[in-house]
Structure formats: structure tokens, C-alpha cells
Assembly symmetry: D3
Homo-oligomer: 323 residues x 6
Amino acid sequence: MKKQMPWEDRPANSKDVMWRYSANPIIPRNLLPTSNSIFNSAVVPFGNAFAGVFRCDDTNRRMRLHVGFSEDGINWNIKEEPLKFICDDKEIGEWVYGYDPRVCFIEDRYYVTWCNGYHGPTIGVAWTTDFENFYQLENAFIPYNRNGVMFPRKINGRYAMLSRPSDNSHTQFGDIFYSESPDMNFWGKHRHVMSPAAFEKSAWQCTKIGAGPIPIETSEGWLMIYHGVLQSCNGFVYSFGSAILDIDEPWKVKYRSGPYLISPQTYYECVGDVPNVCFPCASLHDEATGQIAVYYGCADTVTGLAFGYIPEIIEFTKRTSIV
Amino acid sequence: MKKQMPWEDRPANSKDVMWRYSANPIIPRNLLPTSNSIFNSAVVPFGNAFAGVFRCDDTNRRMRLHVGFSEDGINWNIKEEPLKFICDDKEIGEWVYGYDPRVCFIEDRYYVTWCNGYHGPTIGVAWTTDFENFYQLENAFIPYNRNGVMFPRKINGRYAMLSRPSDNSHTQFGDIFYSESPDMNFWGKHRHVMSPAAFEKSAWQCTKIGAGPIPIETSEGWLMIYHGVLQSCNGFVYSFGSAILDIDEPWKVKYRSGPYLISPQTYYECVGDVPNVCFPCASLHDEATGQIAVYYGCADTVTGLAFGYIPEIIEFTKRTSIV
Amino acid sequence: MKKQMPWEDRPANSKDVMWRYSANPIIPRNLLPTSNSIFNSAVVPFGNAFAGVFRCDDTNRRMRLHVGFSEDGINWNIKEEPLKFICDDKEIGEWVYGYDPRVCFIEDRYYVTWCNGYHGPTIGVAWTTDFENFYQLENAFIPYNRNGVMFPRKINGRYAMLSRPSDNSHTQFGDIFYSESPDMNFWGKHRHVMSPAAFEKSAWQCTKIGAGPIPIETSEGWLMIYHGVLQSCNGFVYSFGSAILDIDEPWKVKYRSGPYLISPQTYYECVGDVPNVCFPCASLHDEATGQIAVYYGCADTVTGLAFGYIPEIIEFTKRTSIV
Amino acid sequence: MKKQMPWEDRPANSKDVMWRYSANPIIPRNLLPTSNSIFNSAVVPFGNAFAGVFRCDDTNRRMRLHVGFSEDGINWNIKEEPLKFICDDKEIGEWVYGYDPRVCFIEDRYYVTWCNGYHGPTIGVAWTTDFENFYQLENAFIPYNRNGVMFPRKINGRYAMLSRPSDNSHTQFGDIFYSESPDMNFWGKHRHVMSPAAFEKSAWQCTKIGAGPIPIETSEGWLMIYHGVLQSCNGFVYSFGSAILDIDEPWKVKYRSGPYLISPQTYYECVGDVPNVCFPCASLHDEATGQIAVYYGCADTVTGLAFGYIPEIIEFTKRTSIV
Amino acid sequence: MKKQMPWEDRPANSKDVMWRYSANPIIPRNLLPTSNSIFNSAVVPFGNAFAGVFRCDDTNRRMRLHVGFSEDGINWNIKEEPLKFICDDKEIGEWVYGYDPRVCFIEDRYYVTWCNGYHGPTIGVAWTTDFENFYQLENAFIPYNRNGVMFPRKINGRYAMLSRPSDNSHTQFGDIFYSESPDMNFWGKHRHVMSPAAFEKSAWQCTKIGAGPIPIETSEGWLMIYHGVLQSCNGFVYSFGSAILDIDEPWKVKYRSGPYLISPQTYYECVGDVPNVCFPCASLHDEATGQIAVYYGCADTVTGLAFGYIPEIIEFTKRTSIV
Amino acid sequence: MKKQMPWEDRPANSKDVMWRYSANPIIPRNLLPTSNSIFNSAVVPFGNAFAGVFRCDDTNRRMRLHVGFSEDGINWNIKEEPLKFICDDKEIGEWVYGYDPRVCFIEDRYYVTWCNGYHGPTIGVAWTTDFENFYQLENAFIPYNRNGVMFPRKINGRYAMLSRPSDNSHTQFGDIFYSESPDMNFWGKHRHVMSPAAFEKSAWQCTKIGAGPIPIETSEGWLMIYHGVLQSCNGFVYSFGSAILDIDEPWKVKYRSGPYLISPQTYYECVGDVPNVCFPCASLHDEATGQIAVYYGCADTVTGLAFGYIPEIIEFTKRTSIV
């Protein structure tokens, strides 16, 4: 019997392209005895159910990754012990910090990418087949980088990853780039994908942007849900929208939504450790129905779910495109 | 039959000079299908009812002006289509962005002023007689300027305007100036009105200040309700207070309230796209009763109403004056 | 008959080391007719009841100190008139501003220390025996300094104080230092106590730190509850934790909690004039039961209470120590 | 007999479009007993000789304007007493500071414009016929503005001025705007002229720009010599180049030089109170020969001269234009 | 007959480890008709003489690379036409800007690396055999990066490069990293090499550091001459020193000089477009005598030469090592 | 026979109040084999000659103090070994860094004060009788402080010191304060002396100020020569002027020079490690003649001398006073 992805129909009088789960947040900040917050986390189908890698900041406010499992994708059993990567190379394997994980199944295994502390933030990479043993590989890039998101299959015969070069602080700029690797150890063929939008065109994404969940292959191209940031006089506001990337040359943006899909508007998105943050890191979808469930961090504190239909999101992206 | 301005009596046990409408916010953020937020807007009596120019940011977070009408000043019918100004001069008439409008009736027509994008923010000016056709004039000033607020009659035989010279970012300074024009095209006789207050005297207005609704002529002078900003370690806080300007030389401040009238304290003022903002842009008043209703933007997200009596506000301004 | 300190048992299913009072906040922002906020205040046993010195910002947002009294430590009667210090020396006695008071009983009198405006923030000092007359002494240090906290008895035969050298703005750094005085007029023997923690070790205290309530003498050393600050992209977040200082050489830190005890998580801590602030300034405790009640400012707006057991806090500090 | 403008032929082996006077600087920093520096000054033909308004900072480093006269335009007799403007309106006439003057003859009198301290920098305006009595008019604009430069005749029947809106500190941005006035009191019809260039196109002018000497009418349009600023990791570098503005609509830029004409390269331009500054404020030219002499401030300390031929400068501007 | 590398003996009474060429600067800023400055350039033996790639900023202040040749390494013939790279891939081959080149001979060809504008600064890579045709490869890294310096032979069977991850402005931080590539297209195995030194230990290199000339293989390890930056209140100061890297694992620093070898002290190093810069990009050396000549940019304006003996530099590095 | 202080008569045609020694700089940057720069140093009469404590930054750019001796006050013999303080208390005695020393003879010994690294900059204190053995006392103040300058006799029966509270970076503010100590261990009675001047009044001292040499007792009060800083767009400029402090209450400023005495104008003051710095730290004077010689650091690189007559400086201070 197959697992059922999380779902809730669009509210009666809503015309929104995406809508929030009425029982948000699905994961409270203190689900673990020592967790300060659980958010910006990755979820995938695993066997007949779901598995995930979760960002759980502890009450030292240290950023840690934890493995979790769920039958329904909503109620999660997260291990109390932080994830420990297996790594032969001490230089790489020494843990400093890790956050904002993504998980991507390619061919025969699950790849985890995350923002990894190695003399500054860069993209850590590991793989697992069982969500028990995780084997850490080389960091994909030199620091400073964040939001490394893999594609779910090879492109042009190579592994492919989106990322967002950064600096070593609260970066005030950020473009999305695309890179390829023949072997998951060496990376190159770096291509620029897209920059923040002009303030006058689409202000919610005018300061910096970064890829969110694993891109989804569609007949129109890769559907990429990504976050954008607007800097108000009171700090950063994180929303998310959508773009369609060329299927063979994913560094070419075909469409890009002018409006956001979700911006911080509810209490749990507006109030928390970092107010006004909606930060998507994973999604589940059903090919038959086109239903998609996006997992996103709320106010850097808890985890929420938003729903939609992929065809509608594609149509919305094309209709409102600012490309 | 004459329209009735919005009103609600002071709550039983309140001693506040101004108090909030119990049904605030009166305009929700998503009143329009594509609005992200509706706030910092202008309202005037029009015929037997009310008309207004509203700041409606769309879900691209683009700033737009929209016309609206209301029978009671509380329930508003806002047009879905953004306001389009009629302008012969392409250089001026090309729309970039516009926000924080004010509307002022002088002699025979309604003048709209707003923060207009023209190689940076400056003061856009237009007029209408019917709230259908708006004729755009020259920008009043060179950039960078915000919060242009006209006086409701000529002074010294000339049109008069308050404004707040700025920079092209999240300005951290801001004095109110006064200027005159013989013809609404050329402006001069610039006079300094007032600076932010000393931190030790009145901290809520110690970072920058800007005029709010159209000044009201009283026997004591012009009653100007204005916003003030305090910069905490977590960003700007916008409150509002009152001042009395000399009736003939309005650049001379007779009284200025040390305390604020309203500061962000309710959920809808403290939580939103920009937390902790109360930003007044318009008022209605009744000469017979002295009742005044102030429209103010809340957290850059929704619109609220606050009530008071003009004589009490004047008395409060004089009694607490820091001039 | 002896006064009863405030207390409420740990909630049934809580495992937290400290827990909030269920009726928080205990002091609303507008308890006084002209108060904008009441927070970051000091409380001590006094006679058969309690007395305190309160930070009450008025609606000019001027920072003022007020005296208050309470029978139960929860319901406070705060004087409407600001505290006026008696001081012979005009140079010192002229009031500019004062905030974040602490009160410490040593030998025969109560010493008040506070952040005192004297050409920048420094540590003001005064004493009282009756909470009626307060005699102001020399400022302890040259500016710029904040969070001056005395020890409740002489150390090495001298008065002793913790403080946090600062700059004259929203300081982005801050270590705790220790100083001694033979006479409460001249201070020296300045020793470094502790710095912010490494981001990777304990991020909630990685930007700056400062002592909170008067340290409590225990068999393990001085129990110091202190605030720590994390700078997110949306501003400062103030939490608090605990440390144990050597009993004879209090500049030597024996243990220091990696996790926080309390961080901003409730509405009244997250929403207010400065969002996300928990700032402790005083505590009451009972030696027999080990019960402790910590008074802390919430969002720079209201005052809350948190409870715990000193032996548990000590055990927690030792167990999680990052020293 | 007619005065002879300063001149020196192009050095033998030079191919530069403009070249420095070999006896630079022509005015030493301490020409006056109390002058710290003399630079950024205005010079015009006057009678059979030359007159000027000079920026002379005194050894308090206060910025003052002084009148000067010269027979040859090179050796200057500067009055020790600062220039005092005659002004009926106290609000305007009170001297705060004044710097970077320009002088422009229009119809029957000389107009002086300068950066005038009035609650921040703005454009002061005065006129004289004899360089003895200077009558101060209204400030042309609301603060914050610098580099107000008039055109030598009315345009479209109105007085015309270029200026550079600024902020109240070391402004890091700056576009040139154009404004008109019917009467030298009220200004309007503000038009954008040009912005800093793209870093990749012409880096010496990529941070901010501002008009220099009075524009010169030519058959190709108005020749405007202007300064541009590049921000290195060690501060601002001021160079100057040239542009051709449309003769009837001077806000339309026809050509704009990619290369600079002069950048700081000599000792007296690179070393001084503000290193690496070449700042032109005035020029003299001879219609018959096309010879031009540009007066420019060097390192904010002394005054230099550079020579060229107007036709060559025009040709250079067109040939290298980045418009 | 073999070429003679540039050389001048140590001055009689000097005890310096390295000393300047008495005829510095060897390349004036205006060697080319349109050059504003020539500095931070790369030089290698080529046939019986020398070739180089030079940073020549033009008088637009655009950064360009130019090829040059010399018989003696001192008098250079630089081509007026900027270097144009041959590149099939338009995405990579489009020129934005390029600066601070290095040239490294490996096996059978010369590799050029430089700071290449591709949506921000990154490391451009190209090769040539004849200094006529240069074939551009993939950028080595995602932006933002500067100071890419190759090793002159493969290490562990792979090409190896040092670089300095940066941000997109005047970066205030900077560590040296090491990366490997199997094919000059894909890069990985990123290892941290070294960070800025502690201010108290070696202040001239406490803000940021970056590799300079191609490392030289010695019996002690790789001799790396690198620049370090100190930020004074008046901007950045660039000096250079030396380090010895492990021969097989070059990311391991064996020795690192505490003192600088050369810091800005002469007029041409202290005065220019960016004051106080000594920036080495290339060296020539003679194995027999141990003589080395370092080419370094002076004040971002001209090019200088400094001499020394490799064994003495090694001894100095070991003796003063701060590792 | 008595030593002769350094002296050179005023140049023939100079009217300056102070003038430079024609053989400046008197101490070259590399007087010591390992010195990068020697500047901001202290000099006193000692026996029949002179002794001093010198700031000698080594070529690691580490800040060190060195002892030196001279027969004529011009030619100095500086010890190669850095000064090592004798200190029982390890917490205090551990050397981090030390710079900008002053030396003051009081009663029976020489006191050295300097900017001492102790978890940030503060005022280190030591004494000597023989310039061989220096005994270190407690730091006078908590960090962050610089420019601690003692008075040459007790005032009100206590030791007295001027200082300049700072932050832990390139401080952008700075007032002079006065403090007293009964025993050189504990300090208090902190009084504000003076703030930076208003920009419009005396711009060279409008950013920050700090005491220089030991104040000189005169019939008019204490003559204090002090540095002032102006922040241009290209960094800080350090000049120096004079003030007269009340003889019994030295925190009261009687006169304060509007103009500077010396500002950076010569090559060795304008070009060096930190351009545009004149920083006085010591003086010698002769009571009979009124002659004074001021030692000042030049461009943070070398040491210069300036001369004047005390009566003339006093007259100048009074005549130009901005108090």
C-alpha cells in the first residue's frame, strides 16, 4: 500500500494559488526536549512512508541536523540524537555547524545538502540509502555559499546543483547559480541563473534569492520554488515564489513569478526567533493529481505546510512572469 | 443630507487623548484580489459621502495608488484598477512607483500629493474634481523627498506644502520643511519647520519626523498631526503626535507634543510587513463637535482609525509642549 | 510575620529548568497614567514586604526611574512621581536619563545602580535606607558603560561590581568585567570576567552579554543570571542563562550554561516596543526551599516573572557548562 | 584693451586632451593669513580683468567664501574678510557655512550659487554687479543639495540650474538634475539629467557625479564639465570629464565622455586635506581660439589650472561617448 | 643564449630580506596611450625572453588585460590592444572585466588566471602556448572569489589552485583556500589553508590575505609570497610576506612570516589611485643563485620590482614564523 | 650643567604660533633594525639629559614600547629590546599590546600611561625611577579607553588623569574626561571635560578629541595640548590645538583654541602608514624663556618636533577661544 502525501483542499472562498494547512504549524518548536526551534527542513518519500532531515536548533541555539520519520508527512518522529555523518577525511568531517538541509533522491540513493560550517558557510554533501548511515563527501564549493539544492537526475550526464554564493555574515546580496559535477567530488561549469528582481518589478525578491525544494520536472521545464528577500527598515522579509527553468539548460529561466506564492502573514510566520520568514526547503507531490505540499520554515521557529496544484502554479508562473 | 463622519465614543475608563476604533483594522490587507496590503492612505469628504486615494501594494510588493469610495468612511469600495494619472509630459508622467498619498481640497479641486518615483523618491502632485480623472503636474521638488502635505488654503497668497527631504534608502534623518508656490509648478521660499526632538526630551520622535494629514486651521494655529520615528536596536518604531504651527507663518512652531498620541501597541500595529508602525495620512473632522477621525497605516499592512476631540488635542499639545 | 515571595509550581508536564508565571505579564505597560512601558526593573525584600525601583518610560519615551512597593511581589503600587536623587554635586546630580536599575542590600543600606546619562551612558550609584530618600554618589565609571550590578557583600574587603563596557549607541559587542572599590567613590582592580560565547558553542549569547540580578551566594560560588544577545538579520534577540563565579575571585568563571534558561517565545516577549527581549534585572529567593523568582523585562514593554529552584539551576549550569 | 585669459600651450610630447598648468598650484593653501586651504572656487571675467568667489577654509577648518580679483587670472588678490551677503530675511540670511561657489553672469548681473548651510546643505543664491555688494535670494531648493550650477542664459524663458540632490553626510550617491525658475525665487520643472555610470563602463564616475563650471554654449549643445567619483577601498577619488547637453532641453544628454579629462595624479592633487581630488568649479574661455582654462580644487587644499581647446574637448566627448 | 632575469644587488648598508629596485617603478602609469595605470601584473620566462599579462586600467578606469613582452624583464613592450580570449561558450566568454592576472606554466602550456567579472568577481582561467592565442576555460569557481593562483605542477595527480573567497564589494575578510581539479573544468577537494593573523601577532595581515606569485617549489616546501591587509582608520594597507606550504599537502602551512617582506613606504607605493598598496602577482627566480625578483603593483597605479634570495626568504620565514 | 631642550627659532617670515623643526622627522621609521615606525612617543627630562618611552611598531606591525635616551632631545638612542613591565599580578601583567605612551613625573617617580590591551584597549599604568625597572599597576579604567594623560601633581590631594573613553574599533566619537585616584589603584570622581567641537565652529576637532602631552601648569590654568579629528570622505585627519583648564577644577575648560596649532601639511605628515596624522604625546619646556617643544607622531610613521612660546600659545588660545 502506498503512502498518502499530506493534503487539505483549498478553503471554500480562497482564490490563492497556494494555501496554508489549517493545522499549521505541524512541528512545534520544542518537539524535542532540547530543541529551541525546528524549521527549514527536508522531507522525502521513503519506503511506504516519509523520512526527513530536520534543522533543530537546540537551546544553546546551536544549529544541528536530526533525522525524522513519519507515516503521514504531518506527524513526525524526530530522533533526539543529532545526525552524525561518516567521513574518512577529518578535515571535512569535523562538525562545526549545519543548517537548512535539502534531500534529493538520485538514481539509487538520497543526497543530503546543507549549509555546512567549514571556515565559513559552504555546501556540505552526504548520501544515505537507509537514513541510518550518512556518508559525507567533499564540500561542493569553496566558502561562502548557502542554499545548495540538487536536481533529482543528472543533466547533460552530470550531477547538477543550484546554490547561492554569499558572504560570511547576514548577506545583503544573493544570486542563484547552477553548477555541474561528473562525480560529486569536483564541481564546475558554473552558470548564472537569476538575480534579485528590480524593486519596481517585484519587491519581495529584490534583496536576495535562493532555491528552495528540489526542482520538479514538468513538461514546461523544471519547476523551482524559491525564496526571495525584501529588506524593510525593520529587517529582512522572506517570502517564496516560483520559476520555470529550461529542462536541458536549467540556468536559463523561462518564467518567473512576479507575485509571491506565500509571504509572512500569520502569527507563526510573523512572530518568532526571526520575524517575517517563510522559507521553503522541501516538497512532496503526486503526479496523478498534480497536488503539491511545500514544507517551509516559519519565523525561523516552527515548520508549516502549504498546498497547491502544480499545473496551477505553472500557469501562475507563466501568467505573471517578470522575465 | 450630509454625510456622517466615522465616530466612536471614548471607552468608558480611558483617559487617552486619542483612542482606537474598536473594529480596527477597518481595511484588511487583502481587500483587493491582488493586494498584499492597504495602508498609509488618504480620505476626504466628497459630495455626500467620502472618497480616497489608497496605497495598495500588490503581491509583487509593487506600490500602487487606487481610488476608493465610501458612504460611511469605514466600509470602503476600492477600485481594482490602479489609479492612472493623465499627464502630457512623458518625462513626468511615466509611472515608476507611488505611495503614501495625501489629498487636499483647495478652492475648487482636490490635490493629490504622494511619494513619487522619479530617479528616486520625490513629491508627485496631481489634481481632480471628480475622482475619475487625475491630472498630474510637475513634481514639486528635486529628489529625494517624502511626505509632501499641502495646506488647505493659500498662505501669503501662495500654495503651501510641508515635506520631508530624505535620501534614497531607509533614511535615518528627517526634518519637516515648508515651501510655497505661486502656481503649483515652481516652488521656493523653503523654510525649516522642525527637526527630530532630542532623545532625552521626546524619544519617539528623535530619529526623523514627517507631516501626516492635511493641517487643520484652528484659532490657535494650524494643527499638524505628524509621525515620529525612534530607532531601537530592532529597527524603526513609528508613532504620531501633534503640533501647532503659526497661522500666517506656518514654519514657526508654537507648540509640539512631547508625548505621542498613538504608538504601536495593538497586534495589528505591532505585527505585519513592517512591525511597529502607526503612520497617519488623513483625517476627517467635524467643526461643530470638534470630533476628529485619523486614518493611519498599521504595520505597513492594514488601515486603522483613531478618534479624538480637536480642542482636547490642542490643549494636550500646549500642555505637553517641548518647544 | 514574614513576607511570602512570589511562587507558582512548575507546570505538570514541563521539564524546563525555569518556567514562566502563568499570569504574566505582572505589570502592564500603562500601569501609570503616563507610562508607555514598565520593564527591566529591580525588586528587593523590604521590611515585611517588597520594594523596588522601576524603569518606567513615559509617553514621551523618556526613561525614568520610579519607586514601588508591594505586599506580594506581584501586585505593585508604583509612585507616579519619578525618583529624584539627592546629590550635592551638581555635575553629577543633574538628571539626563536613567534606566535598567538594580538594587542591592549591603550591610546596612540599599544601593541602587543604573545606566545613567552623563555625557553618554555610565553606571549611576545611589543608596537609600527607606526608599524615600536616595543619596546619589559618584558615577562608578567613565562612560560608556551599562549593566552595573553589585555583589551583596564586600569581597576582599571591598565593594564589588560587575559591569559591561559599551559604546554610545546600540552596542554590538559587550564583555562582563569586575571592579572593586574601597569606598564606593573610587573604583579599580578591573578584571575581565567573560566574553560572548562562540557562535558555534552557544549562539544566544554570541553578540554581547551583561549581568542581570544581584549575584546569589551559594556553596558552589556566585550564581549569576545574565542576559545574552544574538544578532539575527532582523535585530537583537535577548535571552538569559546562568553562570557560577568563584566565591573569592568572582572574575573567574567556574561554570556557564550553554543553553539559555528563558528566551523570547511568548507573545508578550516577542511583540512590543523592542521585539524578542527577555531581560532579567532582579530576583527574589528563599534559602530554605531554594525557590527563586526572576523579574525580567519583556519586549522592552512589560514585566514578567519566571520561577525555578536554585539547586536545579546550579546543576543545570554545571551540566551544560561551556567553560 | 581686453584682458588676456590664462594660457599655456600643450607640452611638446603630450597627446592629452587637457593638460595641467606647469606652475600649478596657482593659489597656495595659506595665501591668506588665516587660510588652511583655498580651492573649489569660482572665477569670471569682470571689467578688464577677473573677479572670483573663493572657498577659503580657515584654520578652524570653517568653510568661508571670499571675494578676489586678478589681472591675469593666475595671481589673485583675495580679500581677508569673508564675503557677507546682504539679506532682508533673517531666516535665510543667517550664515552657517558656505562652500564650493560658482559664479554665472546672466543678462545684467553675476549670480553666485554655493552649497549653503540651512538645516543641512542646500543651494544658496545671491547676485552682485560690482563684487562689493552681494544680495542673497531664497535658497533654490529644500535641503539636501550640492553643486548648484546655473546656465549663462535663460532657457525656455526661464532661469535654469543644474544641481546634485544629496544627503546630509558624505553622500555615497548622486545624480545631476535640471530645474527652472521664472523669477529666481520659485523653482520647478525638475528633470533628471544623468546618473553615475556603470562600473564596467566608466568607473571614475560610478559613485556620484556633479556639475562643475558654468556650462558653455556651443554649436553642439551645452558643454558641461563635471566631476565624477569612484569609491576605492581607501575612499573617494574625484576626477572630471565632459558631457554635451541638448541646447534647448539641457536635461537630455547627447554625449558623455567615458574617459576622464583629468584625474588626481600629481603630488598636489594626491596629497592634501582630502587626497585624490580634482574638483572643477569654474572656467574661462576664448571664443576666437577655442582655448579654455579650467579652475579646479586639488586635494581640497589648493587651486590648479588645466588647459584645453573646446573643439577638441567636444570631439573627445563625442568620440568616447558612453551614452 | 639564456635570458638574464632582472637583478640588482642588495644596497650596501641594507639588512632587509628583500629590497626595492632603485629604478622603481619600472612601468609608468601611462605607458600605453590610454592607460590610467599598469599594475598587479603577471610575468613569466618565455622563449629566450619574457612575456606577461598586464592589468592596464584605461582612462575610463575600466579594468583590462594586455599582453606584453620584454628582453630584460624591466623594459616592457605592452600591446595597445586588450587581450581577447577565444571561447566557444558565450555565457563564459563575454567580457565584463578582468584584473590581477597570474600566469603559470604547467607541463606544456601557460595558464592565465585572473579575477573575472561574471555576475560578480570569480576566477577566470585560460591557456596559451604562444601568448598570441588564449583559450578561455570554465571559471574555476562560483562567485565571489579573487586571487586565484595555480601551482606550477600537478599535486596528487591533479591541477591545484589557491584562491580567496570574497564578497561582491570591498571585502573586509579573506582566507586562502586550496582546491584541486582533474581536468581544469571541474574543481573540488576544497581545503582551508590559512586565515588572517591575529592583530596582536602580525597586524599587517590581520584583515585579509591572498596568494601572490606562483608558489615556488623548494626543499622546504612551497614558498608562497602573499599579500596581507591591515585596515587603518584611513583604509586598507597592503603589504606582503611569505609562507612555506607542505609539498604534498599544500593546504598545510609549515611556516609563515610574522613580519612583512615589503610594506608601502616609498612615494610610488604610498601615493596613487589607491594609497598604501604593495600587491605582488608574479616573480622570476634563478635556481642556481637563488635570486628572486618579485613584481608588485604599487598604489594600484604603477609596477615595481623587489629582489631577494630564496634561501634567505625561507630562513626568514622559518625564523619569524607565527604558525 | 643643565641639559638644553631642543629649539629652533621661528622662521623669518612665519607668523605661525607653532612651527616645525626644519630637520623633521627627527626619528626615522627604521631607526631600530626591526621597527616599521616610531611615533606617538613620550619624552621627559631625566638627570642631565632626556629619557623617553617610544611607540615602536615592529615589522609584524605589533605595537611595542621601547625605552630611549638622548643628550639633546633630538638624537635618540632607543633600546632594541621592548620594555618589559614588572608586575606581580598575572592577570594584569600579561602583555597583549601597548601604544601611545605618556610619561609624567609626580613627586618622586615617573609614571607611564599607555593604551594597554586588556580585553580591549584601556589605560595601562606603571612607574619607574630609573628607566630600567618599570613596575606595572592596575589598569586605571575598564575598557574601552585611550589617551590616558596624568597631571604632573596631585589635585585636590589626589592623582588626576585625563582620558578618552572609546569603543573597541576605529572609534568615531570621543570626549575628554577627568578622573581622580587617592592611591593610583582605584579611580573615581569622573568628570566630563570637553566634547568635540561643532562642525560649524571648529571642524578639525569635530569628530573626536584626546589629550596629548602632560598638561603644563601656568598662571592662567593648565595648558593642555590635544589632538582633534575631522572625518573627511577619505578618512580621519588628526591635527592639534590647545586649551586652558581651570587650575583647581581641571574639568572646567576656560579657553579652547578654535584654530589648530599644527595640521598635517608636510610630506611626512601626509604620507605614511596612516596619512594625515599629527599626534602629540609629549613636550619639553623651559620656564625662563617660555619655549616649548612638542613631540608628535607623523602619519603614524615617524616622529616630528614643533616649537613655540607658551605665552604666545596661551594668548592664542584665549584670543581664538570657542568656549
